[in-house]
């Protein structure tokens, strides 16, 4: 049975019993009252009758006395009639009394009354002459008989009264007995029901207390607390089952919560703490560092060539590399240190117990060599390098974790800019330089927007004929404060910070505009060379971009030469840059290899891709007329090109001696101050015109 029923049932039962008891008592009271009233009514009626009887008796006696004073003479019949009236009246009364007589005693008294009356009547009748007799009752005798009659009436009256009182008493006694019976029954019922109810209540309280204890245990986190009463069919059972389910849910939620917390602070791939965890850890370290003899060092590790591996071997390989790097770093640090992954291929190591920079440097180098160990992925061994920027937390200076991380980042930047596999310590000068670069970068962005970057063009001419072969478009920045700036100042910056494409677009746009203008003026402008970075070649979309732009300008692929550094050809066959180069060649673009001879150009690639031209670096050209060894190198390079049927152009040609030497070595394409300085578009227009006229003049002359 349910608790509701077990609670409500007895209460309703008790209420019903209470109502029944009250009704019973009320009914008994009404019954008693009615009985008493009835009895009283009967008694009153009887008493009225007896009073009437007394009156009648008195009147009859008075009449008798009147007759017996002998002061008048009435005929016998009349006397008899008048006497008979009273007799009749009394008979009627007696009938009433006899009918009303309820108890034996009353009947006896009524009979006695009858007897008394009959006696009186008999003797009165004699004295009244109604009845003949020789013995005439005396007045006194009649008085006595009358008195006896009166006494009989009084006795009856008293009996009636006492009978009524008795009946009332009995009725009340009955009522009291009934009330007592009801009271005792109700007390018994209430005691039994109350005991049962208390028993049930204490049982319920015990169950609830047990449940409450279990719930308290669950609240404290003990989700495996044993919960009883689950098998019960009542509400306690429902609650117990609910609590059990609740505990299970809580356990699941708690597990999920710890997982979420772990996930929130950890990198899923490497299971290393993430940036948030790092910040928390760093904050803690900084807080603990006060008055410590140890220093905290922050190492910002960035994997070299990771993107390349990612692109070439896919993300799964990249992930494997990352895990490898994580393992490598974890192996190098102590238990109180931390390695966190803060970006795609960026990690931060926090060393909280360092004493000097040499120790840190040694550790950093160990980290690099550990990361650099070849990793076998799908049967292939893959190498990845790492650069590390290191920043120390000075007890009295940097306390902002973000600032310290930024310091390490700057150091890393410096390390990277110095080449791969390096480590760099942060110092204030580094930051100053870095911040200078950053300021310049900011200006560069603005400059690109405002058109401060424009293309200058340096002509390339044929040494034999003086024919203009083309132009190299070179970026020039007309800085509003610093004046004209060379590309060396900002190109690297632009490419490092993703402004390369925008810069290249500007140059390409200017080149096309210049070509169109020069050709519109009927000036000889065969093509313009534009520099592209290896990264731009690797990123897709270059071919389409060039096609679209040239098409829009109504130009042909041959009008634009793609100038790339020979280092592009450093990679193996899977480098997408090589693929792009192949596609560009197919389209008809001319590929020129810049700074040829300084890098690690693979001769085989040179052969394989068969670039259209190479540009001999100014280091080989300048002063070639004075250095026979230099002349030998140059000759070899030129011969190589000639033999491979690759055009060859000398950069940095300044003097006529150099020109002569180059011509003698077989290279007749020149670019340099000896020919012309890089000039704005309009200056080139003018230069071309002058040259045109001078050529005409020469021809004419």
């Amino acid at each position: 049975m349910s608790i509701k029923r077990r609670i409500l049932g007895p209460i309703i039962l008790l209420i019903l019993i209470g109502i029944a008891g009250a009704s019973w008592i009320t009914l008994a009271a009404i019954k008693t009252q009615n009985a008493i009233q009835d009895a009283n009514f009967t008694v009153m009626r009887t008493l009225r009758t007896t009073e009437r009887a007394q009156r009648t008796r008195k009147e009859a006696e008075a009449q008798l006395h009147r007759f017996l004073t002998f002061n008048m003479i009435e005929p016998r019949a009349k006397i008899a009639q008048r006497h008979q009236e009273f007799v009749n009246a009394f008979n009627a009364i007696w009938d009433e009394l006899n009918t009303a007589a309820s108890s034996p005693r009353q009947k006896e008294l009524t009979a006695n009354l009858r007897h008394s009356f009959d006696l009186w009547n008999k003797e009165a009748s004699i004295t009244l002459g109604i009845r003949r007799d020789s013995a005439i009752p005396s007045h006194i005798r009649l008085g006595h008989l009358g008195h006896r009659l009166e006494l009989a009436l009084v006795a009856l009256e008293q009996e009636v009264r006492s009978g009524a009182a008795n009946a009332n008493r009995l009725a009340r006694q009955n009522y009291v007995h009934e009330v007592a019976l009801v009271f005792i029954s109700m007390v018994v019922i209430f005691v039994i029901a109350g005991t049962a109810f208390i028993g049930f209540g204490s049982h319920l309280v015990t169950s609830l207390t047990r449940l409450a204890t279990a719930m308290e245990q669950i609240r404290k986190g003990d989700y495996d607390t044993k919960i009883g009463d689950q098998g019960r069919q009542d509400e306690v059972g429902q609650i117990a089952r609910g609590v059990f389910a609740f505990a299970n849910t809580l356990r699941d939620l708690s597990t999920a919560k710890s997982r979420i917390e772990h996930l929130a602070l950890h990198d899923q791939l490497t299971n290393l703490p993430n940036r948030r965890a790092l910040q928390d850890h760093l904050t803690n370290c900084l807080a603990d560092q006060d008055d410590s003899i140890y220093q905290t060092a922050v190492l910002h590790v960035d994997l070299d060539r990771f993107k390349q591996i990612n692109d070439l071997l896919g993300h799964a390989a990249g992930d494997e590399i990352l895990r490898h790097a994580a393992r490598a770093m974890q192996a190098q640090i102590g238990p109180q240190d931390m390695t966190a992954r803060v970006g795609g291929d960026e990690f931060v190591i926090v060393l909280s117990h360092t004493t000097d920079s040499a120790e840190v440097e040694r550790l950093a180098l160990n980290v690099i060599s550990a990361i650099s160990r070849p990793v076998e992925i799908w049967g292939e061994f893959v190498n990845v390098g790492a650069s590390i920027g290191i920043a120390f937390v000075s007890a009295n200076e940097e306390q902002d974790p973000a600032r310290i991380l930024s310091n390490a980042d700057i150091a890393l930047y410096v390390a990277k800019s110095q080449g791969r596999g390096r480590i760099s310590f942060y110092n204030d000068a580094t930051r100053a330089r870095f911040e200078g670069n950053m300021a310049l970068l900011k200006d560069l962005r603005a400059g690109l927007e405002n058109g401060e970057i424009t293309a200058f063009f340096q002509p390339q001419v044929d040494g034999h004929t003086g024919e203009v072969l083309g132009f190299e478009a070179l970026a020039r920045w007309h800085h509003p404060e610093r004046g004209m700036l060379d590309p060396g100042v900002f190109i690297t910056l632009a490419f490092e910070h993703g402004l390369g494409d925008q810069l290249t677009e500007t140059i390409v746009t200017d080149a096309i505009a210049a070509l169109l203008e020069w050709r519109a003026h009927g000036l000889p402008a065969p093509c313009v060379s534009v520099n592209f970075s290896a990264k731009q070649l690797r990123d897709g979309g270059l071919v389409e971009y060039l096609d679209d732009t040239l098409f829009a300008a109504g130009l042909q692929p041959k009008d634009i030469a793609i100038e790339v550094l020979e280092s592009v050809l450093f990679g193996d066959g899977v480098d997408p840059a090589l693929n792009t180069i192949a596609r560009l060649q197919e389209r008809g673009y001319k590929i020129e290899l810049d700074d040829f001879g300084t890098g690690h150009a693979s001769i085989s690639n040179l052969r394989r891709f068969k670039v259209d031209a190479v540009k001999l670096d100014r280091d080989f050209v300048s002063g070639v007329d004075q250095d026979s060894e230099q002349e030998m190198i140059l000759r070899t390079l030129i011969d190589l090109c000639c033999n491979l049927d690759i055009e060859c152009l000398a950069e940095g040609v300044e003097t006529d001696a150099e020109k002569a030497m180059l011509l003698s070595l077989g290279c007749h394409r020149f670019q340099g101050y000896g020919v012309a300085r890089p000039m704005p578009k309009d200056a080139i227009t003018a230069w071309l015109r002058d040259r045109d006229q001078s050529l005409i003049a020469i021809k004419a002359g």
Binding site: F70, N71, I73, T127, G129, I136, P137, S138, I140
Partner: protein, 330 residues
Amino acid sequence: MRVLTALLIGLCGATLVAAASWQDIQQEYARPAYIDFPEGTTYSPQKAALGKMLFFDARLSGPQNLSCATCHNPSFGWESPTPRAKGARNQALARHTPTLENLAEATHFFWDGRASSLEEQARGPITHPMEMGSSMEEVVARLKQISGYRRYFRIAFPQEGLTQSTVLSALATYQRTLRSGWSPFDDWISGDEDAISETAKRGFDVFTGVGNCNSCHTGWAFTDHQFHNIGLLGEDIGRGAFDPNMRYRFKTPGLRNIALRAPYMHDGSLPSLRDVIEHYRHGGASQEGVSSDLSPLTDMTDNDITDLIAFLDSLTAYEPHVSAPSLPAN
């Protein structure tokens, strides 16, 4: 212990004896419930009422100057407060007026008992020239002229009507109904100890003891209806006129309402009860060789007399009143 037991038994026995004698006394003095009418006479209330009218009607006397009630005055215990009442001729009569109460059972009437019924007695005073000085004829004739009486007689005596005998019968019937009223003595006899004084109770003891009064004044009416010589000196020989052996004897009168009936004796010679008792105390005087029935009461003391008087007073009824009837005028 034994003595005590004996004492207790004795006490109980004495009480039983006393109780027995008291019951006898109660029986002796209990009033009869009924008035027994002699044979040949009948009772009816009409006759009694008619008799009462006649009893109070002065038209029954010759000169119509006195009724029966004139001398038999109910206010004086149906007697006259004079030694000898005066008759129609305004002359003193020979004897003191006797009472009329409690005579139904009597067989002799008048002091000398010359009448044997009340009817006969009634005729005496009416027709005696010294008393009412009328005749029965005159009475009947006179009554017949009164219509009321004619009607009453028709009612009371439907057959006979108004005759000499019906007049006498009516008077006798009325007189038979005359009973002395309930007295304190009756209450005492009935068991009410406080009804009479201790003096009266002692008086009763004297009456039945030392005084020996109850030798003649017997029963509830205190009379033996006999004739006795009580030693009163005088020429009247009483019953002796009809029986020589009964000279100087007179009828014993009842003692009910005796206090109202002074003076006493057949000649009214003793004005008070004390005188009467003193007379009896000394014993009656002898006359002409006829001794009285009394002997001197030597043991009686003065206190006894007082007690006896108190007892006699207790015989006076509570309500001696008798109402007078309205009489038909013509």
